[in-house]
Each structure stands twice: as structure tokens, then as C-alpha cells.
Amino acid sequence: MKKIVSETEVKSPVKTKTPKIKELVSNVPSGPLKDKWTKHKDEIDLVNPANKRNIDVIVIGTGLAGGSSAATLAELGYNVKTFCYQDSPRRAHSIAAQGGVNAAKNYQGDGDSVYRLFYDTIKGGDYRSREGNVYRLAEVSTNIIDQCVAQGVPFAREYGGLLDNRSFGGVLVSRTFYAKGQTGQQLLLGAYAAMNRQIQRGKIRSYTRHEMLDLVLVDGKARGIIARNLVTGEIERHSAHAVVLGTGGYGNLFFLSTYCMGANVTAAWKAHKRGAFFANPCYTQIHPTCIPVSGDHQSKLTLMSESLRNDGRIWVPGKKEDAIAIREGRLKPTEIPEEDRDYYLERRYPAFGNLVPRDVASRAAKERCDAGYGVNKTGEAVYLDFDAAIMRYGREKALTSGMKDADDLTIRKLGEKVVEAKYGNLFQMYEKIVDQNPYKTPMMIYPAVHYTMGGLWVDYNLMTSIPGCYAAGEANFSDHGANRLGASALMQGLADGYFVLPYTIGDYLSDDIRTGPISTESKEFDDAEKGVRERIQKLMSGRGIHSVDYYHKKLGKIMWNKCGMARNENGLLEAMKEISELRQDFWENVKIPGNADGKNQELEKAGRVADFLELGELFAMDALHRNESCGGHFREEYQTPEGEALRDDENFKYVAAWEHKGKPSDSKLHKEDLIYENIELKTRSYK
């Protein structure tokens, strides 16, 4: 049955000029770097307040990017509908970000500036992002902090009542604002509160437990979605003048990741299949400090905040026989003397030490474990040790408390208290999962999939290659290049949602002031709904041999082994073939119990895994075509004699944007050349 959910219906919407699918034009404004955003804001078209009331916008996803976009668009006067698969907008996985949010406030007076944040982000991304976008991100970062404090976000403060900062990987200043180990949760609750205010005013209609299953294009423009009500199973039509995707990343492609269980690529993938180019899919961030895998039953991996690397020292045994003894349970890490430990990050990268960027730290851990120095049963773990920090803080505390000759035991006790105040909740979390006390014995950590820098291609206005379809936050590809720095995901999500998209979307919507409501009674909506229903029917009619998780785990293994921290040509070719075969097997043999007209979690998972099975192949193809190593993309064939990533700026200084052409392997590559007018491309060095 068709369900009409448009506010009002009109017989024949007024048609405007038919737009052409855009070529890859970044639309970055000309002029000096620091004036681009101001100039752009001055020049783009606006929609007057009365006309905004006649324009509807759909926002998919209610995390930092989606939630903040929805709230701001509604405040500006647009009619907004939000959709999330969770039972409340507040639960989007932005809440899981622990460490913090960067902003170039320079409250610490340590030489920070908008330019320095911009430079660090470009360099951290291994020179694979757009100068104009990144500068704008750095520029609006300071507004985020002002905004969030005004909203009542309880950031950590110093005794003088001012905001506290800490330091993160890949930078030499303290610019990270935080709320203990819960920064993401507090920022999202701020955006959720802003949304709630608009829901109460009737400007946002919030659809929870709903999943977008297709994007509807009318005359080449994004004009609505087909969604499934996850409780009743009803298929619904929703129309709007523009659609914003704030749907996060696709790391669950790897099955095991630090993403939430429901995170998926479905909305972005549907947009891709409708014409939105998918950019740099192979740029994945593998986070160095996660709790290692304990067994086959494992459903997800848990991240330990990067902030731990401020005080923890990473090491493995220097002697292979010690590593073997540890793995066999004959030796404890605390029994290994200082001179027999290999603090490999401090050894290889003396300038940044334990605070090198994530890609560098992850690869270094893999290198040691592959060489046989891993320290857990599976040989895939390294130590993160707080002993030195405990003693250092303890000595300082003893002195400031007037104890000049404190013994080691007293110093240790004092130090443990300081460390507990800083990282108590993280230590507690580790102990609950691993059943070991990290105050007494070093933590074991190993890299895990954590974030995807790739995503839907967008221009400077955050519009995808489909007119009227926007992507914000992790769902787009725009700001982090080939590697993201710590505490920059929250910054980008909120920058896009609060300060960029709500303005740039006006430039597009200014053409729609006379359009009137979009009807859901059109051939385009009929066809899209029919397609969605047929696909569900096809999923439900599989022969029923293997569960959805069976396929998801298999896909995850292929991805991790062949498209993970280190990739090579043969492995990637094999991955493409294996994923394609697995996809065929899935469609023939997947087993989904129950029926489609009610709550059915297996059906929900199946739809998402089906899309991952397509994206996985494109991911491998992208990694295969990029014959260089940069950021999170490490090709074994392209490395320096010291094992560092070897970039090829001459041939690969571009964004790889893939156009859907039927099968993933038929996708067509479009290149957006990256232009560096302000920064000189250098070999990234943290030595």
C-alpha cells in the first residue's frame, strides 16, 4: 500500500530547468585562501525567510553532522524531516567518540592558529585533501566551541573556570577540547537538544526506527526517499526539495570494527547507485589503540581513546624469545627489564614518539607483530604501558604535597590517583572487557578499523554529483585526505552541520522558491518503491542455507586480510574476485527467518550486508588502481627502504571518484586534480 507523507499534494509541480549531472568541479572559490569562505558566503544566493517556510529538506542520520544540520536548517526556517534507524536521534554513533574536538582557539598560547590547524590537517591527510575545504574547516572550528558552550555542553575546565585542552597525535600544540572520555556523547546531546527545540516548535519531524532504502530523483534532482518503518515494515514515500545524508562511514565492511553494530553504507550506496560518485573508498583509518580480538565469537572491537598515548608508552619485547615466553604464559611483561623492551615508536620517530598519527602508529604495530614480537595468544597485540607516567605524576604530586623523600610505593599510589583522574573511565572499561588491571600490568592493544576518510564525492558546497543531494560529516570524503587526525571527526561533523551546509544549501534551494511541494505521486516514486519492494522480496526468498552474519564475517575476513593495513596487487585482485563470488552466494543462499511486514532485524542486516558486498569490491578496485602509498592506504609495493609510505604525487595527486555503471567492477573513474596553491607538498615525516 502506498503511504503519502508529503505535507500537501499538488497535481503538477512547477518544473525548473533540468540540471545536467555535474562534472567533477570542486567549486572552490578563487582568491586568497583565508578569504575564500567569507567571499563565498557573500556571493551565494540566499532564500528569504518567508520562502524557507515553503521548502522541505530531508536529513538522513542524526549524528553530529545530520543532527546539527537538521537543527540549523529548521532554525533557519526550512521544514525538516529527520530519519534514523535507532530508537532515538541521540544514539547515533558520534556518541562513542571519546577523546575530543579540535579547535584553533589558541587558549593555551602555544602558537596555535587557524593556519596551523589547516596545515596539520593537510599534512596529516598526506596531501590528499582540498586546501579550500580544509582551511574552511579550521576557520569555523573556533565557532564550534563557542556554539557548544552556549548550548550547555559541559566541557572539561581548569580550576580558574576556563576551558581545558589536551594534545592529540600528529600535532605539536594542545588544541583538543574534551569532556572526560565522553566528548562525542556530550556534543551529540548538544545537537540533539537543538533538534529537540525544533521538534517542539514543529519545524522538525523526527522519524526514528526508519531506514532509507532508496533515493528518488525527479528530473535529475534528489527529490525524496523511500524508507522502511522498521517497526511495522511499511514502505513509505517522503518528498523534499533536497536530501542531506549524514549517515556516517562504512567501516562495518570489515565486520569487526569500532563502529556500532547498525552502522552501514546503505543510504550513501543508494545515492551512489543513483548517480552520486563515491570518492576514495579505499581510504580507511585503522586506529592503533583498540582492545585486541579475543576469539571467533567477537562481534565488535572497542577503542581505547588516543588520549592515552599522551601518557602511555608503546612497546614490545626486544628479544623474540621473551615475546614467545609471554605468549605461552611463562613470562609477565612486568618482569622484562627496561633494557630488553623495544619502545619502537620512540625509537623510529623520536620527534613525535608515541604521538605519531594513527596510520603510522598502526603500521608500526603490525610491523612488530608480523616480525614475531606480538604479546597475546594470537601474537596480535602490543603493550601500552602507564608505569612511567604513574611514577612521573606520583613524584610531581609528592613534591607539590611537600613530601621530599617519599618512597616508591607512596609515589606509585599518588601517581595512580592522578592517572585515574585523567583516564579512570577508560581503565575501568578495559578491565571490564579484558579482566586485567591496567594500573598493575600494561594494557594490550592492537589496531582496528575505526573511520573511513572516503565517502560520497562532494563539492565545496557539500553537494554530491546529484543536484540537491548533499553529504556531510563522515559520509562525505572531503576534509581528511588519506588519513584523519585525532579529534578531527567531531570537528568536521559539526562544522559541516552547523556552519557550512545550512548556508551552502541555500544557494541551491534559491531556485526552488516557486517549485511548491513535491508530489510523491509520480512515476519516479512508483518505480523507486517498486524496486525497494522487489529487493526485499528477493532477500526473503533466498534458499536459506546461511545466516546474514555468516556472509558478513566472511566479507570482513577478506577485507581485513587483503584490503587492511597493508595491501598488494595480488591480494587486491583476489579480494575483488572473492567478494564478487561471495555476493552471488549471498543472493542465492542467504537465510532470513520471519517475514517483512514487521520488526525483522535479520532483514535489516541483510539489506546492509548486500550493499557492503558491492562496496567491498569497489573498495578493492580503488586500492588496486592507486599505485602509491598514502595515509591509511599502504601498498606494500610502494614503500621507502625504511618501510615508510611512498607517495606518488606526479601520478596520484587526485581524488578518485567512481561512477556507478551496473556492476562494481564496471565503475568508471573520474579524477579531481588536487591543487596546492598555499602548501608545498613534502614527504610526511614524524621522525
Binding site: S68, A71, T72, L76, Q86, D87, S88, P89, R90, R91, H93, I95, A96, K105, Y107, N143, D146, Q147, C148, V149, A150, Q151, G152, P154, F155, A156, R157, G161, L162, L163, K180, Q182, Q185, Q186, L189, A193, N196, R197, V231, T258, M261, S294, G295, H297, Q298, S299, K300, T302, Q428, M429, K432, I433, D435, P502, S547, K591, P593, G598, K599, Q601
Partner: protein
């Protein structure tokens, strides 16, 4: 280890449910509780039965989605954690484990162990915000210093993940701890004081409309809260409510 599970099964909101027995073998102590349920579900699917539906998402104790009564305790026997952080080492071979959804009139069952907590969203919509436009340019973040002690207390109240364990633990199914946490977060900050009176009135009114019970100060909510939200917040909300009522 081998476990004897008694699980609430209910096909949908309109059909009566019942407890169903399952025996599960091969459970390991380093599995999480939800991974144990994953294994049960894989078994059920392979037998052609419908898996047990339960809410879960982040599986790291922060999103507040998971919500199970385990042997009569919200989030199970361990303290200060959510179900997803509970590990099977808290149980023994041969244990009988009773698994139910949150039980409260204001949280109707959707299916099996999944309940509808949208009442919490509506309480927040009634006033759980500071009326400041996101698109404006507010004053510099450091323009108003905030005493560290107050900022920390506000943060502690703000750590509520909205899971609903407080309601499930309460014999009256009261939502006072949840509502007071948000009221407190803002009442403790200078930015939130401006609308404090209106906020507490609106949020309490909505809480009552949703059909949550009254608070009788037994403190069960505080004990079961995975984030350790303090009863102090309820006292603060009562004070705020009283003052705002007197001030009119």
C-alpha cells in the same frame, strides 16, 4: 559453559507474550552477554526459528540502546555497566538466566526484548535544551568562566545515556532520575539558568503525562544506573520545581 535461558518472547505489541526456555551450550567466559545472545540467535536461525530480537548498537556502553532485565536486575548483576559490557565470566556453568525487557507502562514492548522509549525523547523535547540558535555567533567560549566544581557536577549529570534502567529498576517506574539529570545539567550552568524555571516545569509536566510513576526515594535507580547518576539530582530537581512553582 552450559546455560539455561528463560527469555521473554512476544511477536509484536498487540500479541501477548510468554517466557520461553532455551538451553545453550559452548558459552565461553570472555564472551559478552550480547555475544552469547548472538550465538543463541545463530542456532535459532539454523533451526529455522525466529531469532530473539533485542536492542543494541554501540556495544561499548555509551549509546544507551541495550536494555535487558537479567535475573530481575537492569543490565544484569555487574554494577556501573550496560548489558553490552557484561561478560559471561559473571555467570557459572549450569546457571539459569531469566531475560526480560524493561517493564514499565510508559515503555510498551515492540517485540521480544525491545521496548518503545520514545517517552524519554518527548520529555527532552519539552525543555531539555538551552534556547540558543546554532546559526548565530554566540560570545567567546571563555567569556563566562564556570567554577570547576559546578562544571564537573553538570558533566556528571550530563553523562546519562537515556537507557531507561532507572525506570526499569523503580517499583513505581518513575523517570525522576532521568529527568532530573537533564534539569541538573543545565541548572548548574550559567547558560542554563536563564530558562531554568520554565524548563523544570515543562519537563516534569511531560514526565507525568507520559505515565511514569512517582519517586518514593528508595534509590534503586541510582544503584542500577550504569553511569552512576546521583540521587542528588532528584533533590536538585525538586528544589528547582518548588522554587519555580512559588515564583509562578
Amino acid at each position: 559453559m552450559k546455560l539455561y535461558l528463560k527469555i521473554w518472547r512476544q511477536p509484536n505489541a498487540d500479541t501477548r507474550g510468554s517466557m520461553v526456555d532455551y538451553t545453550l551450550d559452548g558459552v565461553e567466559s570472555d564472551m559478552s552477554f550480547l555475544e552469547m545472545l548472538d550465538i543463541l540467535n545463530e542456532e535459532l536461525i539454523s533451526k529455522g526459528e525466529e531469532p530473539v530480537e533485542f536492542d543494541h548498537d554501540c556495544r561499548e556502553g555509551i549509546c544507551g540502546t541495550c536494555s535487558l532485565m537479567i535475573n530481575g536486575q537492569p543490565h544484569g548483576p555487574d554494577s556501573r555497566i550496560t548489558v553490552c559490557q557484561l561478560h559471561m565470566r559473571s555467570f557459572n556453568d549450569g546457571d539459569e538466566i531469566v531475560i526480560e525487557p524493561w517493564r514499565a507502562a510508559a515503555f510498551p514492548v515492540i517485540k521480544d526484548l525491545i521496548v518503545d522509549r520514545s517517552a524519554f525523547d518527548r520529555i527532552q523535547q519539552a525543555g531539555g535544551y538551552i534556547s540558543v540558535n546554532t546559526s548565530g555567533r554566540p560570545v567567546d567560549a571563555n567569556a563566562i568562566p564556570i567554577q570547576k566544581e559546578k562544571a564537573d557536577k553538570s558533566f556528571n549529570a550530563a553523562t546519562c545515556i537515556g537507557c531507561g534502567a532507572c525506570v526499569a529498576a523503580c517499583k513505581n517506574a518513575s523517570a525522576m532520575l532521568f529527568t532530573s539529570a537533564k534539569v541538573s545539567q543545565f541548572a548548574l550552568l550559567p547558560q542554563g539558568r536563564v530558562e531554568a524555571a520554565e524548563r523544570v516545569q515543562n519537563m516534569v509536566r511531560q514526565m507525568d503525562l507520559e505515565g511514569f510513576g512517582n519517586c518514593t526515594n528508595t534509590g534503586a535507580c541510582e544503584v542500577e544506573c550504569p553511569k552512576g547518576i546521583s540521587l542528588e539530582n532528584i533533590a536538585r530537581m525538586n528544589r528547582e520545581y518548588l522554587f519555580s512553582s512559588v515564583k509562578g
